[in-house]
């Protein structure tokens, strides 16, 4: 009896403490959580990571080297470079159904791809803000089940040798000008148009797509249309993703963004951890490290992408004063797949 009274009093005291000094209590918990996580990661020793091919094995290794330096560890990274996220998502679902330990500890996919995993309740939740104060709150997504590591932007792009400055599109509608007939390339990636539907509505976007199809554009995946734009085979791309444009700028290729077009569509890259992975702690450390200034620097150097929410990064600088359009989680869950198929058919895809 006396023991239980003592236990209750202790609980009451702790409760009082945390309510009177919540920040300190959180800080204290955070202080303990991170060292524990680091120690557990040390025991695990390795991270199996699947991410964008543009990061390259050298980029993944650079991330891990910097992480090891920061936390005094000697973790290894096994990197699987990918160019198709849908196959990865399908693999993860199949593994979960077969009760197989996931192949990957951490994956990086887009905000559109992660919803298939989120809606099946396959992702691990974690107190990111409590453990890693450096992670911007806007980067923590899907009920603590993912962190947004970087953003990719999409607007029309053009070949600077073929398009005169006065002809550079200033609005999305400008790319529908008949003068671009036979000179425009359109990506098979319909996500941009589904995101714009959030702003324009379905009727207007469908009409836009019909007029775009009337221009008889050449269609192809982003990596296919880009050499065509750089080589001057085509003058303008209805949209192109920022890592390709950044790559062109670095190589001094004659390709540039039509920067006056707004809104700029934003696609988010998110890192997440599937439940029951082999190396959960090393994985969390790897995810969080990607959002440190050092991590962002490496992501920029190799993957040409950074977070607009981490102050000072190229993406942060790029978005200043710009009108951005993010995907809404509910919209992505309910409408995106169907709209992608519908717009694809209009443009000539199956």
């Amino acid at each position: 009896m006396r023991a239980s009274v003592r236990f209750l009093l202790t609980l009451l005291f702790l409760g009082l403490l945390t309510s009177v000094f919540p920040a300190q209590a959180r800080a204290s918990a955070s202080d303990q959580r991170l060292p524990r996580l680091i120690e557990a990661a040390r025991q695990e020793g390795v991270v199996d990571f699947a991410g964008p091919a543009s990061l390259t094995p050298a980029g993944a290794q650079a991330l891990m080297d910097a992480l090891n330096k920061k936390y005094g560890l000697s973790l290894k990274v096994n990197f699987s470079p990918l160019t198709s996220y849908t196959g990865l998502v399908a693999k993860i679902i199949a593994e979960a159904q077969a009760a197989q330990t996931p192949t990957y500890d951490v994956i990086l996919v887009t905000d559109a791809h992660i919803v298939s995993l989120y809606s099946r309740n396959l992702l691990e939740s974690f107190d990111w803000a409590g453990t890693f104060p450096h992670i911007p709150p806007q980067s923590i997504m899907l009920d603590n089940q993912a962190v947004m590591t970087d953003a990719i932007f999409a607007i029309p792009a053009y070949n600077t040798r073929l398009v005169r400055p006065q002809d550079v599109p200033k609005t999305w509608e400008d790319i529908l000008d008949p003068k671009w007939k036979g000179k425009i390339v359109v990506s098979t990636g319909m996500q941009i148009w589904t995101r714009l539907t959030q702003r324009w509505g379905e009727e207007k976007t469908e009409e836009f797509m019909r007029r775009l199809a009337d221009l008889k554009p050449i269609i192809g995946r982003y990596p296919e249309i880009h050499p065509r734009l750089e080589s001057g085979e085509y003058a303008i791309a209805a949209n192109q993703l920022s890592p390709f444009i950044t790559g062109s700028e670095e190589k001094k290729a004659p390709v540039a963004y039509a920067l006056e077009v707004k809104p700029i569509v934003v696609l988010l890259d998110v890192m997440t951890q599937v439940k029951n992975v082999r190396h959960p702690n090393a994985a969390k450390l790897f995810m969080a490290f990607s959002l440190t200034p050092e991590g962002q620097e490496i992501w920029w150097k190799y993957g040409k992408r950074t977070s607009p929410f981490v102050k000072g990064t190229p993406a942060w600088k790029f978005v200043q004063g710009k009108e951005l359009l993010f995907g809404d989680k509910d919209f992505l869950l309910k409408r995106e797949e169907e709209l992608i198929e519908r717009y694809g058919k209009i443009i000539g895809l199956r």
């Binding site: 050298a58 470079p81 198709s84 077969a98 197989q100 996500q191 296919e224 890592p243 199956r350």
Partner: protein, 575 residues
């Protein structure tokens, strides 16, 4: 011996080797049948393999009630037939010239035939765009200047262009499938024709072509299905101009932008390939049933001798040079060019001023030792397993009187008749479900297995053609002396078809090196191979870097082909 030949007794496989070979053939069949059945079942379900859903015809409704699908079928058949025409325009004369005549530099041509495959197809597609695009094509610009035209005279963005390029690319496998048949051909019939005053070309058409019909037909049917399955040229040259074929539909169904892959829908599209494969297998059976017509190696004397080309020699060399210019020289020069510039551009004075080796210096960033080691293991083991299984199957099909042997041949053709991505998805799913019994999931072994099974169809087509040419009397004579079937196989059959075995092995090794679809589907951190790295570089937009890696690989693989050929030829001589 003569009496034996006249009786034409069918060769019967006794125990225990009969049993051993039967068991091996059955095991090989199971490895093929189970993934194919999984694909068929998936086509009747919605969702991912393993997801519980009722059987439905929904995928077939979506695929075949859409008039668009029938337009795609027309495109596909046109594309496949057009490709076959181009292939055989080059492959048959090339095989005859290289294997049956005294054309100079024979080894060089053989090595070049094996080299084209090393250049990634997407880079070949880019090369052809740079050469023949109506807007920037170098050759088009040249023609416009010379002929004073306002518009480009040639466009590759149509079915003709697609067929031409695909045909050029697929000529080497056809060559290797039929070259062995020409190599082992007894020249007595040719000599008889010459003595009778028949010309060389007439002899080629009426003697050589007819005697090698099984090999040629096998190659036609094999490559017809290959053309239906290949994605790169339809994807890079057809789809941008909205010319869709089945492989592009399957690609889009399995690689949607968001959501999940529609393997069921892709499976339904894939059934067309399966039906065509069955139809072509039936045609093939009809030919190989008449196999005695094509026997050229008998016990009475086998002495292949080369035909003298005489004044035709320079014309023959020009023909081969023309082909290799299209297949290797132009794409390779483009590949080298792409690897030396910072971004893809048409050659110009300005572009030449930007030439750099930077792309080569970045190559180590993209690779590491593990993918190289994995690729070496893959290239050595997959063709060995594949050829072993192919030899067993071909021997049962061509040499035994086992009931259902032609069905076995049909089964061997099945892996080729299903899209690689679906085959890999099925194999991955089976490995996942049965991982406790067969711990292959996520390992290099599953990629080796996938390639070994996938290319059994290539191996059996080539070996069937070679085995058909050997008269049974040789084996019957050995049997009379009490030799076991395994000994007959080892001492008589294998030495006689050594060239076909080696060519098939080498070609499967090169196909395995280049195969990317299955490797990407079965990828894990443990089994990354070089082909996926090159593909990923391209997918990430690093085209010049992919080209630099491609150039390095061309030189490495050229060395591999030369060394393998030397070892192979030495091996054949000692057999």
């Amino acid at each position: 011996m003569r009496a034996l030949t006249l009786k034409m007794q069918e060769f019967r496989i006794p125990h225990p080797s009969h049993l051993a070979i039967g068991v091996l053939a059955a095991v090989a069949s199971l490895f093929i049948i189970i993934p194919v059945l999984t694909i068929i079942i998936t086509s009747f379900r919605i969702g991912l393999p393993g997801e519980t859903s009722a059987l439905t015809l929904e995928n077939y409704r979506e695929a075949f009630l859409d008039p668009f699908t029938w337009q795609v079928l027309k495109n596909t058949v046109f594309f496949a037939l057009g490709t076959i025409v181009v292939i055989f325009f080059f492959a048959v004369p090339a095989a005859w010239l290289i294997e049956r005549t005294d054309i100079p530099c024979r080894r060089l041509w053989l090595t070049l035939m094996g080299l084209g495959i090393v250049i990634p197809t997407f880079l070949k597609a880019i090369a052809w765009i740079l050469l023949l695009s109506p807007k920037i094509g170098i050759l088009n610009k040249l023609f416009m200047e010379i002929l004073g035209l306002d518009t480009a005279p040639i466009s590759i963005y149509n079915l003709w262009g697609m067929s031409f390029i695909q045909g050029i690319i697929l000529t080497p496998p056809a060559f290797f499938m039929i070259a062995a048949a020409y190599k082992s051909m007894d020249p007595s019939l040719e000599e008889a024709a010459f003595v009778s005053g028949v010309g060389r070309l007439k002899t080629l058409f009426f003697i050589n072509l007819r005697l090698t019909l099984p090999a040629i037909l096998a190659a036609i049917l094999y490559l017809f299905i290959t053309t239906i399955e290949v994605f790169e040229i339809p994807g890079l040259i057809g789809a941008p101009a909205r010319i869709f074929v089945f492989s592009t539909l399957i690609y889009y169904a399995t690689h949607p932008e968001v959501g999940l892959p529609k393997y069921g829908l892709a499976g339904a599209y894939g059934m067309i390939m399966l039906v065509l494969a069955f139809a072509s297998s039936y045609l093939y059976f009809r030919v190989i049933r008449q196999s005695h017509k094509y026997v050229v190696i008998t016990g009475k004397g086998y002495r292949p001798r080369l035909i003298e080309l005489g004044r035709m020699k320079s014309l023959a060399v020009l023909f081969l040079l023309f082909y290799f210019t299209l297949e290797i020289f132009l794409p390779f020069v483009t590949l080298v060019w792409a690897s030396l510039v910072p971004y893809i551009q048409v050659p110009s004075a300005e572009a030449f001023s930007k030439i750099t080796l930077a792309n080569y210096l970045k190559v180590p960033d993209y690779s590491g030792w593990k993918p190289i080691l994995n690729t070496v293991l893959l290239m050595l083991s997959a063709p060995t397993i594949s050829i072993f299984l192919s030899l067993i199957i071909s021997w049962v099909v061509i040499r035994s009187q086992v009931r259902g042997r032609y069905l076995l041949d049909g089964i061997a053709f099945l892996p080729h008749a299903v899209a690689s991505i679906l085959f890999a998805v099925a194999l991955s799913y089976i490995a996942l479900v049965y991982r406790q019994f067969f711990p292959l999931y996520g390992t290099l072994a599953i990629i080796i297995l996938a390639n070994a099974i996938k290319y059994v169809s290539f191996g059996t087509r080539t070996l069937n053609g070679a085995l058909i040419q050997i008269h049974r009397e040789l084996e019957e004579a050995a049997q009379m002396t009490g030799a076991s079937n395994l000994r007959i196989l080892r001492k008589i059959v294998i030495p006689l078809i050594g060239a076909a075995l080696f060519n098939s092995w080498l070609w499967i090794a090169l196909l395995t090196f280049r195969e990317v679809t299955m490797a990407l589907t079965l990828i894990s951190p443990k089994n990354v191979v070089l082909s996926t790295l090159v593909w990923n570089l391209w997918g990430a937009g690093y085209v010049p870097e992919a080209a630099a890696m491609g150039v390095i690989l061309v030189f490495v693989l050229a060395g591999f082909v030369v060394v393998a050929r030397k070892i192979g030829e030495k091996g054949i001589q000692t057999l």
